[in-house]
Symmetry: C2
Subunit: 191 residues, 2 copies
């Protein structure tokens, strides 16, 4: 999506350690109109797929996932990273390594919120090694639901997670794919 | 908002310790169309107020905050509960006690995302003792911005946070106000 690439080029800050800061419109301060445009793009990329729910993991995928789910007219389910007192009953869980935070966490979804008849689109802001997607895919599998695909805002192809999933037959759509980046040279997109 | 009260009565589960579980439409699995309706109600309740940004804290306020901000045509800014590698530079921070999780955390917002000219609407899912709102109000104050008001989905009036803020002159609008609740008797709303 050209508009997203332009925005990343203009506003993104590449930090040490393969970290791309997009706080001005994608993470901390969310450009809501632009997020809605990105969601429309996702809806057209997955046209024809049966999608009954959108699944993400808290918290930076929630706004994007919400915008997609609203346009599709389906619920957004989000996995939690910690157990809260307002969760009760059976949970579906998967251990995920966070590249951004440098730690492991257990993502959980109440078992009643995903079921065998569901066809689930995973939405997330970043795709790097694919750890979060694999965790969410495991949760979908535990629910006995099926995976419609993965919608990503920014993929870092040099961390290989996206292409591995595509080779495994998963329908992955990333609105911007970064082939390389560095603090000195900035960001280069897949042609 | 009558539709929200009905939904809470029908689907809410009151757990021990003043915990109300609304995972089926408001927290874990988010009814996106209904969230958009609630956001429209907020927009009409704050009609005439100047609002340049909506502020929430991750993660359960993000969907509601996003829906409001999108309708207002302004950015959604969310405070983070932990420091991530994609945050850099100056941050505005406030310590907040979480009633749901039973711990303290530091909420942070990148200093570049709120500024002195902003008039900020705070959005959150629950209002109980008001700890989270006070933390977000402190962040707005640190930014030199002004507070337009607080939009809440569910207020537990018996924990007093909402009425204390109203007495202090803050424009607080809660779409449902619960005067009492218990696992045995369920939920009673403010008449």
């Amino acid at each position: 999506m050209r508009a997203l690439e332009e925005r990343i080029t203009r506003e993104g800050k590449v930090l040490e350690g393969n970290v791309l800061k997009l706080g001005s419109f994608l993470n901390q301060s969310i450009d809501t109109a632009f997020t809605a445009e990105m969601a429309s793009e996702v809806v057209s990329l997955f046209a024809g797929e049966r999608i009954t729910k959108v699944l993400t993991v808290e918290s930076s995928g929630i706004a994007f996932g919400f915008a997609i789910a609203e346009k599709l007219g389906v619920p957004l389910v989000f996995a939690k990273k910690s157990h809260a007192s307002n969760q009760s009953g059976d949970v579906l869980s998967a251990k995920i390594h966070s590249y951004t935070h440098g730690n492991d966490y257990t993502a959980t979804v109440g078992a009643e919120y995903l079921s065998a008849g569901d066809s689930v689109l995973i939405a997330d802001d970043f795709l790097a090694t694919g750890e979060a997607l694999h965790g969410l895919m495991k949760i979908i599998e535990l629910a006995g639901a099926s995976l419609a695909g993965c919608a990503i805002q920014v993929e870092k192809s040099f961390q290989n997670g996206g292409d591995e999933l595509r080779r495994a037959g998963v329908h992955v759509e990333s609105l911007a794919i970064i082939d390389s980046m560095s603090p000195e040279e900035g960001v280069r997109f897949r042609p």
